[in-house]
């Protein structure tokens, strides 16, 4: 039987609430405005490893935002039911905050260790936004 490994990350609450699901990890920063398509629920940034990959219902993990204030369109995905289940990011600013305020999905940042070094795409992740606690169940190897 495959072994599972559990890791706990502690961070700061941005938006409360609970969510769980499969992680989708972007090792590159995410860019908004015309480079995210809320109807399709994916980044449309050319050259981006996740260009065209749906983030609907995923725990979306990324290092930072970059670019325009149109990053808020990641939050507009709720209008099309294509939104991620939660946002986890290493470091943000008001662009990530506005996206989360619009989507009202659990969001945690400023972790005790870099989530990109712990979480991989396909891991199962449980997010407790209010307590800022993220439980990572590693994909069975």
């Amino acid at each position: 039987m495959a072994e599972t490994k559990k890791i706990i990350l502690k961070g700061r609450k941005v938006i409360g609430g609970k969510a769980e699901g499969e992680a989708l990890v972007s090792m590159e920063p995410l860019m908004g405005w015309l480079n995210v398509n809320p109807q399709l629920g994916c980044t449309t940034e050319r050259n981006h490893p996740l260009c065209g990959v749906s983030f609907k219902d995923k725990i979306l993990v990324f290092p930072t935002p970059r670019g325009s204030g149109g990053f808020v369109s990641y939050g507009m995905t709720v209008n099309y039911n294509t939104n991620p289940a939660a946002f986890l990011y290493t470091k943000g600013n008001n662009l990530t905050i506005f996206a989360s305020l619009v989507a009202q999905i659990p969001t945690v940042t400023d972790f005790d260790q870099d989530p990109l070094e712990v979480i991989e795409t396909g891991d199962y992740v449980k997010v407790d936004g209010d307590r800022g606690i993220v439980e990572v169940i590693k994909r069975a190897v």
Binding site: W33, T44, R46, G52, G67, S68, L101
Partner: protein
């Protein structure tokens, strides 16, 4: 988050429902940001008219009209960036050839919708580089609430004012923002020394350099050395690219920007690392921005950020006596459009078969002329427009103003950069 007694009264609704809703927005935003308190703005607000960050706190046009009737005004000098909700053209719209944007009724309706904001005191500059033409700017240390990629580093780095990316109705109406990030001394210190190890010669060199630095440092605050004495056009391009290739909202150029007379003053003991940008780094960005194979160009776009009056002049001189084979748009800010008219530049541009427009851009209009292959001298517009076309592919060439205008005249791309 700590609130003063007056702020608590606003939150409790004593100053009316709109003030209450605006305060609810600031409190939810401030708490999500980890801010300890609000700060009173003593600088300016720059906002995208009618664009609300968070729909549940939106203030409607009818509500704004009611406030105007009661004699209410914005608390601080408030300037309109380009309209984005929706985007529309301020000047030249009759000649744009786009079905929606050349419709007089569409133009009239959208302009009319902004009147209540103007009645509140919003100054209708309508430009992404409003800071070049607003005739009123914040001074060093003043707290502001601005928007727009190139404008944020202009406020923080060039002017030494303090802003996050949060200009909107609510911040202008209450004259307050959460006190965090760029408002606090400790977050404005440089952490990374960026050495430019190639001579930046042309305007697009600064665009490429800005992108390369943005990708390398993202949210960090760099202290940049070795970039010579950039012109206004070059600084605007660099800022736009710094905040597109990355998220650089603050930087220092020791000896040039107001908070860093020296390298030591830029870091204030906070030095963490350094990196070099070489010609090879610029080449890598240039190759990334040339995302095209077909040499026949359908559409040439100049003016992201909006061309300043000198750029309009330079473009007009290149076009004088020529005829364009491909469609060429030159976008400026509405203020410079008037000067271009007075100088006869609009006529020179139009005699060459090109179009002078103001107040928007293809990305903000969400409407472009029919095209498969485009050329532009803007890293920002270049990189976002392909996202708008997804899943269709847009071929996009990148090069200097001269190369772009040459492409419009000949109908073919022949740019090369070294």
């Amino acid at each position: 988050m700590y609130l003063t007694d007056e702020e608590k009264r606003i939150l409790d609704g004593e100053k009316g429902e709109i003030a209450q809703r605006s305060m609810q927005f600031l409190v939810e935003y401030g708490e999500a940001a980890g801010a300890e308190r609000l700060i009173d703005l003593d600088g300016t607000v720059d906002l995208h008219p009618l664009a609300d960050w968070v729909p549940k706190y939106a203030v409607t046009l009818d509500e704004i009209k009611e406030l105007v009737k009661k004699g209410e005004r914005f608390k601080v000098p408030t300037f309109a960036n380009k309209p984005v909700a929706p985007g529309f053209l301020i000047d030249g719209w009759e000649k744009c050839g786009l079905p929606k944007n050349s419709d007089p009724e569409y133009r009239r309706k959208n302009m009319e919708a902004l009147q209540p904001l103007i009645d509140m005191g919003m100054i209708p500059i309508f430009s992404c580089n409003y800071y070049l033409v607003s005739s009123f700017l914040p001074t060093v240390g003043q707290h502001c609430a601005w928007v727009e990629s190139s404008a944020i580093p202009w406020a923080n780095a060039i002017l030494g004012a303090r802003t996050n990316f949060d200009g909107c109705f609510h911040t202008a109406y209450l004259g307050k923002v959460p006190a965090y990030d760029m408002h606090l001394d400790e977050n404005r210190r440089a952490t990374v020394l960026v050495k430019c190890e190639t001579e930046l010669k042309s305007d697009i060199d600064y665009d490429l350099f800005g992108w390369a630095v943005g990708e390398a440092v993202n949210l960090e605050v760099p202290a940049i050395v070795g970039i010579g004495k950039p012109t206004t056009s070059q600084l605007v391009k660099m800022n736009s690219a710094l905040n597109t290739g990355g998220q650089v909202r603050m930087y220092h150029i020791p000896g040039l920007t107001p908070e860093a007379p020296t390298v030591e003053a830029a870091f204030q003991g906070n030095y963490q690392r350094e990196l070099s940008i070489t010609r090879a780094d610029l080449r890598r960005v240039y190759d990334k921005l040339n995302y095209a194979t077909k040499v026949e160009v359908d559409f040439v776009y100049l003016g992201c950020p909006h061309y300043n009056i000198y750029e309009v002049y330079q473009a007009a001189k290149l076009l004088e006596g020529k005829k364009c084979k491909s469609l060429l748009w030159i976008m400026t800010n509405p203020s410079s459009y008037q000067v271009a008219e007075r100088m006869g530049l609009r006529k020179i541009i139009e005699d060459a078969g090109a179009v002078l427009l103001s107040g928007s851009c293809p990305g903000a209009l969400l409407e472009t002329p029919p095209m498969r292959v485009m050329a532009t001298d803007s890293a920002k517009q270049n990189y976002y427009l392909t996202g708008m076309f997804y899943p269709e592919k847009l071929d996009v060439w990148y090069g200097s103003m001269e190369e772009c205008i040459n492409a419009a005249i000949t109908g073919k791309w022949s740019g090369d950069w070294r």
